[in-house]
Subunit: 330 residues, 2 copies
């Protein structure tokens, strides 16, 4: 880990989320984006990579490994990057599917002997359960792993954890999100993950859909996906934080895949009973003008910075967005 | 510090806030209320004190020092309590005036050689500035001091710190509170502190007011206090957390001293610019049914628990509600 103020940051996965993350990092003085990897290659420059050039290369040639002069094509891109790069922390902007993906990547970090901070913006409860199985290995390896640190879980889970403080007991945490994206093709993996939550679909079935099949499916719903009782890791994170049991947490929302305007304002409602016996509800509502990218990548880097602070103090292991206050990245 | 799960908690100050705190603690399994001190005495019982009996004694005789059989009258109640009691952490439910009060009490803890966790629910920026002057001494003494951990600053500051994560830069944090209390005489010190914020008043003038003068003043306003641009420590806490400069934070509100119903819903609005250049506002709104006592004491104990976690890891010094995630107390 660098001892100076600027943290060297890598991004694993270079889809819509990974690309947005490079733009979020670009104006930050405290973090330099120096590395990225996708399925087919990686790029590394210790003095920093350029988002525009990297994104253009990915769109034109299909991998950041083609980036001149810093890219390398590889079928073992993460492994090779870890062998090559000096990076303090990585944002795992990887697809959520399969559910074992994050934990498998974390195992690669452990196996490599790398020490530092990892942050993910994963979605599913089962993915956190996979990570819980290796929490001791992460700690022993000297890795501080921050999980569930996007928007939901992440920003909204943290707001719920703060809001819970007014209550003696929590009755319900209800997360309702609205997402509007101009063009679903920029978020191919994310949209398939959303479809997997719908009745009649599952992870394998959604993942196997071709772009044309996704397009045809979205034509039937005018591009709208309405999601209820989703498997979202907010539930296990609030349970691990001792706030409520996971069955008291519900996540649902509406995704408009053809309109950047949000179909509803994303919010979390926290209902509980105070020490005086009153039932009440706190509400945290996101401004509609904040994009999914802003609400995911901003918190992810805020938790990455908080993770650096823990790591410097020798605190390693697995932490969630409900336990640690994110730090603001300048 | 006890190594078992139950934390032994003391309360300094036994006005409205200190008394409410005992009721908040009563059903908690993780914390035992074992000690309290007011100006004229203290009470200590290692197996736990009874809120109802203690509150009745204070109301009838004017000090918890009269509590039988655990009370002791003393003109040096804090000093004597520290010499006597085995306590893991204290909630400083003390008046905010004078602004040096919390720091002076903290110096008493340092001087006594006591090690543990302190939490306050102070209000004023200048009181935090006083504490900043002794942050090194707190750290050296082995004290983990959590400041600004009530409702505002505290709960709302933490919500603002979480909300800030969506933005590249913060433009404004606007806190607007509504407080309704059935009877101002239960919160004599708090109401004088509020009056001190009004035009034409200051801390000394408000403190010097007799109960009859406060009553007469409230008669002129139908019991309503409208407060603007208050000196509240939310500003310095968000500045210390690197989120924005203190002049971007405003705190105001309406206090109805004759009606438990809130005159407006307490909320914090966080306005900023995203990495994409969009200006937006997140809003966190408290449910009206949550009382000031619930919104102050709940977070205070949540931060006390978080402080225990830091203290166990050997992390001492001064921390604010904007830096640390409160832990839920069961």
């Amino acid at each position: 880990m660098s001892t100076n103020q600027t943290m060297k940051v890598g991004i694993l996965g270079f889809g819509g989320l990974g690309q947005a993350a490079t733009k979020v990092l670009a104006p930050k003085q405290e973090m330099d984006w120096v590395a990225a990897a996708d399925l087919k290659g990686y790029a590394y420059c210790e003095t920093g990579l350029e988002p525009q050039k990297a994104i253009a290369t990915y769109h034109q040639q299909g991998s950041i490994g083609y980036l001149e002069p810093h890219g390398t094509l590889s079928n073992h891109s993460i492994k090779n990057l870890l062998e090559t790069a000096q990076v303090d922390g990585y944002f795992l902007a990887l697809p959520n599917l399969p559910n074992t993906f994050m934990a498998d990547v974390a195992r690669q970090f452990i196996a490599s002997g790398w020490k530092g901070v990892l942050v993910d913006a994963l979605k599913r409860t089962s993915a956190v359960e996979q990570l819980l199985q290796i929490r001791r290995e992460l700690e022993t390896a000297g890795i501080t792993y921050m999980t569930g640190c996007g928007a939901t879980p992440g920003l909204l889970t943290a707001a719920a954890a703060v809001a819970a403080q007014s209550y003696h007991e929590i009755h319900q945490v209800k997360i309702t999100f609205g997402v509007g994206i101009a063009n679903w093709e920029a978020y191919r993996a994310t949209i398939r993950e959303d479809i997997a939550h719908l009745p009649g679909f599952n992870v394998d079935k959604a993942k196997a859909m071709s772009d044309a099949e996704v397009e045809a499916f979205l034509d039937q719903t005018n591009g709208i996906l309405t999601l209820e009782n989703m498997e979202h890791a907010d539930d296990i994170m609030l349970e691990l934080a001792g706030i409520c049991s996971r069955d008291q947490v519900t996540v649902g929302g509406v995704v408009d895949t053809r309109n950047p305007k949000k179909p509803l304002s994303t919010n979390v409602q926290i209902t509980g009973r105070t020490f005086e016996g009153k039932i009440s509800t706190h509400t945290f509502t996101l401004g509609d003008e904040t994009s999914m990218a802003a609400n995911v990548c901003g918190p992810a880097f805020g938790y990455l910075k908080a993770g650096f602070s823990l790591h410097r103090r020798g605190i390693h292991g697995l932490f969630t967005a409900a336990e640690i206050m994110p730090h603001f990245v300048r």
